[in-house]
Symmetry: C2
Subunit: 350 residues, 2 copies
Amino acid sequence: MKHGQPPLSNPTINDIARVAKVSLATVDRVLNARPGVRETTVKKVNRAIAELGYVRDAAAANLARGRTYNFVFILPANSNEFLTALEAEIAQLGRDIRHERTRLSFVRVAAFDPVALAEAIDAIDTKSVDGVAIFGPETPSVRDSIAHLKDNGVTVVSLVADIPSSERDHYVGVDNIAAGRTAAQLLGKFIGPRPGKILVLTGSMLARDHLERRLGFDAVMARDFGHLDVLASLEGRDDPDLIARLLPDALASNTGVIGIYSSAAGNEGLLRFFETQPVGSRPVVVAHELTQLSRQALSNGIFDAVISQDTGHLVRSAVRIMRAERDRLPIQAAQERIRIDVYLKENMPP
Amino acid sequence: MKHGQPPLSNPTINDIARVAKVSLATVDRVLNARPGVRETTVKKVNRAIAELGYVRDAAAANLARGRTYNFVFILPANSNEFLTALEAEIAQLGRDIRHERTRLSFVRVAAFDPVALAEAIDAIDTKSVDGVAIFGPETPSVRDSIAHLKDNGVTVVSLVADIPSSERDHYVGVDNIAAGRTAAQLLGKFIGPRPGKILVLTGSMLARDHLERRLGFDAVMARDFGHLDVLASLEGRDDPDLIARLLPDALASNTGVIGIYSSAAGNEGLLRFFETQPVGSRPVVVAHELTQLSRQALSNGIFDAVISQDTGHLVRSAVRIMRAERDRLPIQAAQERIRIDVYLKENMPP
DNA sequence: GTGAAAGCGCTAACAA
DNA sequence: TTGTTAGCGCTTTCAC
């Protein structure tokens, strides 16, 4: 009943060299696609590689190379708990993998400001930096700056919010449309059959993640919960003060709000507003990102569900992907898929 | 605004040797706690290690050692989709990390059968096997067998269901009590205020995972949803035929069942039963494990939510932990925490 | 008890 | 265009 595999002991470049009747250096040249090898020799080597089923030992290669990776994260300068958590994860992982010759750093640029972002990207020293992870809006200038990075051989991944029109190598983050759909389904199911209005609190429609969440949310609301009336978004620009100011008006001019979808980084402002309100029949609330504040709100029953993405996973995944890209190694898609986490009071991680 | 870190370039054993004024071999002896080094020499070396902040390069060490890891998974011989998925992940990862000198295999033993499990554990060749991941019941004989493995220097992790009373090095799986609590909360919130009965379909109370889920489920039901009447568990032993046979009776003798918690691997039997039932006012259903069948049931609206654990993560985590344990390397707890995934129709992964 | 030296699989000068 | 050789950081004989 034991399912085994053929014995271990993988072929090395020595075996390839022997079989192909060339030197180690030549095998290395072919493996790394370096120039200066005759076409027929390349073929010989490749044949040997295929025949022996050779797979390069990345650890040994990196050891010999003495390669060090230098990765930079570009994040919005907004200060909210999600960003603080991301930052902490970057710092932590940076310490943990220092001895793996990997160096992480981050830069903060004004939020929702494409010009500032493009400038920050252009300021990257393409000679010393191997990879950049970018969390920011998608605009033509940003796309151009990314193209510049790519032209100079820098690996680029988009983080949290995708920039699909650019030449970024990968996107690391959740499917935000599906996240919005999930929020709608939770809100709808929790509210039940009674009719009423839904308030959507967002950050900025310039942010692709916010936009996509709204799209997904609206689609499911329209399809499955026709008895609920979804109001136009309140753009809070992830600013607690602004949100706490906007909310009273929005709710005053719309009686009958029985559900709120806090789709961006506006939890602090929202909770601050709730504090000023009399307890009683609060609306059902679905929010984003599990942080200290939102955990507490879940515990209190102020939030009914929180949709989240694991900041640790985001950072580890971005780093693994940038490394793999540099080493020309395959990426394990399943491992890198960032899940849409759904948290209720009872399944919050410790 | 750039947060950097001190420059890269870590101290090596050469540096240690130089500072401590000993040879490489001696540094190595101290690092690996090998005998035959004078007490004062050990101190000298350790002082140098501390002073330079040395961290061993695990990749280089493994390269030199030529170490290969041989890990065995012991799984229930039950054939259900969850186990099939686990098996597939083991096979897949086995292929992916073959070139990392790691060999994975698995053994199947009769489900819910402590004697068979203990025998399978005893049959492990402790000379050639480096680590064992065990998914099975917790009984005294099993504990003894695990102790035997540990005595012979084999790393042991419990998988999916913990065996906390044993000497297992780690548990890889979700917090099943919290999973049960989550199920209760979802079921309760989805049902709303109307009163009725809840049927709990489990596998076997011999299985710690099943038991813990039931405990968590009951606790939250009692606390938050007093208007719902939770019936005694139906033990389906994860057998589709048995379940499809038991269900009609159970539901006939209990009118007014408005919710079902399928807490083990009984989805197939449950769905088969539903097929025989007239459509109409179906109960709210919360089930476990996202598989092809449960995905379809979510899509159809037959299941309202599915609580799951990522089989890929389980397997990768078990392997990472067994490796780290062997290499005497620290374990990144955050990365290894298996999450309680909550899936609705809208956030199923593709 | 301790050290010198070879070698793990791969890369990168430098020669030829 | 190809090969030789030294070494990356660590482990492991085998001497001393």
